[in-house]
Structure formats: C-alpha cells, structure tokens
C-alpha cells in the first residue's frame, strides 16, 4: 500500500485506528512542521560539512518519517545518517537534493490530511 509519493497508507490507517481523523491531522501537522525544519537544518549542516549534526538530524527525520509512513523520505534520511556516522558528508548534497524531491511529493500528499480535523 505504498503509493507513488512513497506514503505507506497502512501506517496512516494505523494512526486513524488509534485516534481517528483528529489524531491523523495532529500527527501530520506536527510532522510537516518538524520535517520541514529538519530538512532546512540538514541543508545547513551539509553546507557546513558537520557530520555529527547531519547524523543527529537525519536520524530524527528518518524516525519521524517512518512514524507517519513517509518511506522515501525516511530512506534518504537514513542514507544521510550513515554518511554522517561515517564522518564524510561530501556525497551529502546529492542525497539532500533527492530528499528535497521526495519531500515535495510528501508535502503535497499529506497536507490535505493535516486539515481533516
């Protein structure tokens, strides 16, 4: 049940079972805000070539993205996390671009759910 935007709707439905449309809206709103901030911060950390910060932010983004079923964003974040851990972020800008593309789709896809409350 993963669609072309990389959203796993099983995860969204699990959230709906847990707390209805209201919880889905609340979680998605929080996620969109948190992930937006983390992606900006990742761009900064990549520019500053700071592997420790890249690993830390990428891990949080991965884990939050997995929580809402944003699988492609989660997997790009994981690639960045591993680069950060390895201590070399020279390949990071390319992954950040792929992450940006995946994020655009996720944002388009999830935004309507944030308004469902």
């Amino acid at each position: 049940m993963i669609n072309e935007a990389g959203i796993d709707y099983v995860t969204i439905e699990d959230l709906r079972t847990l707390g209805g449309d209201r919880l889905v809206a609340e979680v998605v709103t929080t996620y969109l805000d948190e992930a937006r901030g983390d992606i900006d911060a990742l761009r900064e950390a990549t520019r500053a070539a700071d592997p420790v910060l890249v690993e830390e932010i990428a891990h949080r983004l991965k884990s939050a993205s997995a929580g809402v079923g944003a699988t492609t964003v989660a997997s790009h974040a994981e690639e960045l996390q591993f680069l950060g851990r390895a201590g070399s972020v020279s390949a990071a800008p390319e992954i950040v671009r792929a992450l940006d593309d995946a994020w655009q789709q996720v944002e388009t896809e999830l935004t309507p759910l944030a308004r469902a409350a």
Partner: protein
C-alpha cells in the same frame, strides 16, 4: 565518562489524586512523541515528556514513574547512558524501561538490556506491540503475594488494626506514597553509602528505613533494615553489600502489597 549531574534536592512526595499510572516518554522527535503519548493514553497512562536524557533524569528526580519509554538515539545524552544513569541514581523502585530504537542493527537489543532496560521495541511500532511490551515489563513486577496470607510481607495483624485502608474518608496523603518516597530515598542513601564506604550514612539510612517499614507493618523488611543498621554501626560494609539486593527485593514486595491493599480501598470508597 558520565556527565556530572548534581543530585538535586529531593522534592515533596507526590500528592495522591490520580490512580492512573504515569509514564515518561523520552524522545527527541515531536511527531513520534505525539504517537507514543496517544498510544500510552490508550493504555491508561498519564504521560510526561522529555526531549533528551538530561531532561528525563530531571523528571525522574521530581516524581516517581511507572514506566519509561526511552528512545535510544538522542542528542546530548543517548538512551544507553540515560538508562544506566536511571539505574544508578534511582535504584528503587526499579522503574520499568522500554528502549526504543529506529535502527535495525544486530546487538541493539543486547546493548539496551545491558544498559538496564527491561524490554526493547523497534520503531515504528504498533499499539499491540507496545501493549505486549508493557505487559511483559509489568508481570515481572506485579507478583504480589496475597496480603492476607501468612508469610506475606505485611503483618496481617497490622492490616486488621489499621484504619488506613478501611476509613470513611480518603487519607490526605496516601500511606503508600509516603512509604514509597521514604523507601526510595533511604535505599538510594544505602546504595550510595556502600559506594563511598560511609558506615555512618548506612547506619542512618537503614534506621530510617527500619522505622518506615515498621510503620506499615512490614516486619520482615524492618528486620532486614535492622540488620543493615547493625552493619553500619559496626562498619561491616562487605556484609551489608551482600544484603542489599535482598532488601530491595523485599521492598518491592512490600510496595506491591501496599498498592494492592490501597487499590482495594479506593474501589470500596468509590
């Protein structure tokens, strides 16, 4: 190298009010925090939140918790260090810690358990997985003996004579909360006395615990505390070290029994 975190001053005992259990979610992502809070709410927990390990220790210092859901990878102080610190600084009552990690790496589970966690979940987890983990960590604790049977940790004559669990009105401050707080404080003192070889501190803490135990009819615990008190008096710290695990185990039994009695009391009062 552990960060130097000063023991803050002890806070007042938690006032009685809610009989719901309280969980602490330690998690740096706001999204995942929201999901965890909502799942724990379904399991009837009141939930507090800390976004890193340092804040988690502050929370745990300010009040008792019935459960900690600990994210392992966090900035500032990671979950391994934080769990170790919880075990070192708050030896009793032993709060159940469920470690949570988003990494699927072999050895994660072992590392979590080795740090002092009781169970382990990998993210993202579903409600039924969390429910099962909560059940597992609880059954290890809730093996309370029937308090009315002889040989239980609380003297039956005390239970019969006391009005505490039978009175008309809810006690202003739960005797269980008072006992939990005193036992927690004195056991921390006893453990730290053994670490720094301070016989005098051991003596004082054991004496306080003996009297707290006697106040709730926990005669076996009072005997054990009295034995520790003598160790402190005579400087037998090695002998004391061999006794503390049994003592904290007995404390668990006493607390579970008191909680059991108190629950019955609240049900009758309702």
């Amino acid at each position: 190298m552990l960060p130097a975190v000063a023991m803050s001053e002890r806070t007042e005992p938690t006032p009685i009010g809610s009989t719901r259990d309280r969980a602490l979610v330690v998690e740096d992502s706001r999204t995942n925090k929201l999901i965890a809070v909502s799942m724990l709410g379904q399991l009837n927990f009141d939930v507090d939140y800390a976004e890193n390990g340092v804040l988690a220790l502050e929370r745990l210092d300010s009040r008792p918790y019935d459960l900690v859901l600990m994210d392992i990878m966090m900035p500032r102080m990671d979950g391994y260090i934080c769990t170790r610190e919880i075990r070192r600084r708050f030896p009793w009552p032993r709060v159940p810690v469920i470690a949570v990690t988003a990494n699927v790496m072999t050895g994660d589970r072992e590392r979590c358990l080795e740090a002092g966690a009781d169970d382990y979940l990998s993210k993202p987890y579903k409600l039924d997985e969390l429910t099962a983990a909560v059940k597992r960590v609880r059954t290890s604790r809730s093996a309370a003996a029937d308090p009315a049977s002889s040989g239980g940790p609380i003297d039956t004559a005390w239970i019969e004579s006391t009005e505490v669990f039978d009175g008309e009105s809810v006690p202003a401050l739960s005797i269980v909360d008072v006992f939990r707080d005193e036992a927690r404080f004195t056991i921390e003192q006893i453990f730290s006395a053994l670490v720094v070889d301070d016989a005098r501190q051991l003596y004082r803490a054991a004496r306080t615990l003996r009297s707290a135990a006697a106040n709730v009819g926990a005669l076996g615990l009072a005997d054990q505390a009295a034995a520790l008190e003598r160790c402190g008096e005579h400087g037998n710290l090695d002998q004391a070290s061999s006794m503390v695990d049994m003592l904290s185990g007995e404390c668990d039994r006493v607390l579970s029994t008191l909680e059991y009695l108190e629950t019955g009391y609240h049900q009758r009062a309702a």
